[in-house]
């Protein structure tokens, strides 16, 4: 039985999360506490000699969190590169904001499930191929590649979640990142939506 419970911090977050959709996702993510409490950190169960646990929802979320954290840092590099001009640079900052909101939500959900959120590295620790980012086009292409990869990653995560609310939340993030990808392709002068399906 899962009632929609809106924790106080979700309501508080409304003030600085601009999209109503994201707030709805947050609520969906945190609804159904019993089911959420049932999933736990597989690694903790994998103590020596014990039976291997299935890949848990916490681990799937944490892996997604790691990729979001890298995307935030990548947009930082892009925005600070001086290679993006005004309207496009603003776009990059907006998209970075979305990735921050995704990361925030993923980290909170990992904690809620009793896990430890993966920690962001410093920008330098990601070893971005900055030697290959010489023009605004290079930066946009780099961002588009990350967004396309992120869409695939969420698509690959959705069928694995034991908790369907988490699958829905991942679908919500996937949709946002697919829009980023399309807009970046448009900015690159490519067909914004190249296919009927993402893969």
């Amino acid at each position: 039985m899962s009632k929609i419970i809106v924790p106080a911090f979700v309501l508080a977050r409304r003030s600085f999360i601009s999209q109503a959709m994201l707030s709805a996702t947050a609520i969906a993510l945190l609804a159904g506490n019993e089911a959420l409490a049932a999933s736990n950190d597989g690694d903790k169960q994998n103590g020596a000699g014990e039976q291997l646990a299935a890949t848990s929802d916490v681990e799937i979320l944490n892996t997604a969190l790691g990729a979001e954290q890298e995307a935030i840092a990548a947009y930082q590099v892009g925005a600070e590169s001086g290679l993006l001009k005004k309207p496009v640079r603003d776009l990059a900052v907006t998209f970075q904001g979305h990735h921050k909101a995704h990361a925030d939500l993923l980290a909170k959900t990992v904690k809620k499930l009793g896990g430890t959120p993966s920690e962001a590295k410093t920008v330098a620790q990601y070893h971005f191929p900055t030697d290959k980012l010489k023009t605004g086009t290079d930066v946009l292409r780099f961002a588009a590649t990350l967004e396309k990869g992120a869409v695939s990653a969420y698509l690959g995560a959705i069928p694995l979640f034991a908790n369907r609310d988490l699958a829905k939340a991942a679908g919500s993030i996937l949709g946002d990142e697919a829009m980023h990808w399309a807009v970046l392709r448009q900015a690159l002068g490519e067909a914004p939506v190249p296919d009927a399906f993402v893969s």
Binding site: N46, T55, T63, E70
Partner: protein, 110 residues
């Protein structure tokens, strides 16, 4: 064994399949997932300093080495092949797409 039944792969097509891995992997640097450089012939879970799951490390210690057959199985269903792996990804289900991907990886990871 499926070894003989693996379709021939096309590396050029495989490069585009590898796009699906690019949120987490690169050939020559560790990201959310480990680097793929020198993947073929490498023991599972053996890139120094990469924080693998207990499950992946144990698979390597138990003798899992990456080659055409083991990669085909892992990429088809990562969490089925190595339960508890941190790679929360459903897999590439199409045998031809996997063959293309592996053909690309074989070239790109040497």
């Amino acid at each position: 064994m499926a070894a003989m039944g693996l379709p021939a792969g096309d590396a050029a097509r495989g490069e585009h399949i590898y796009d699906r891995c690019l949120a987490c992997h690169a050939i020559d640097r560790d990201r959310t997932g480990p680097r793929h450089a020198k993947l073929f012939g490498r023991r599972a879970g053996s890139v120094p300093g990469f924080p693998y799951s207990a499950a992946m490390k144990r698979a390597g210690e138990a003798g899992l080495v990456w080659n055409d057959q083991t990669l085909d199985k892992f990429v088809e269903n990562p969490t089925g092949f190595i339960p508890g792996t941190r790679m929360g990804y459903a897999g590439v289900k199409d045998p031809q797409e996997r063959a293309d991907l592996l053909a690309y990886l074989k070239q790109a990871t040497q």
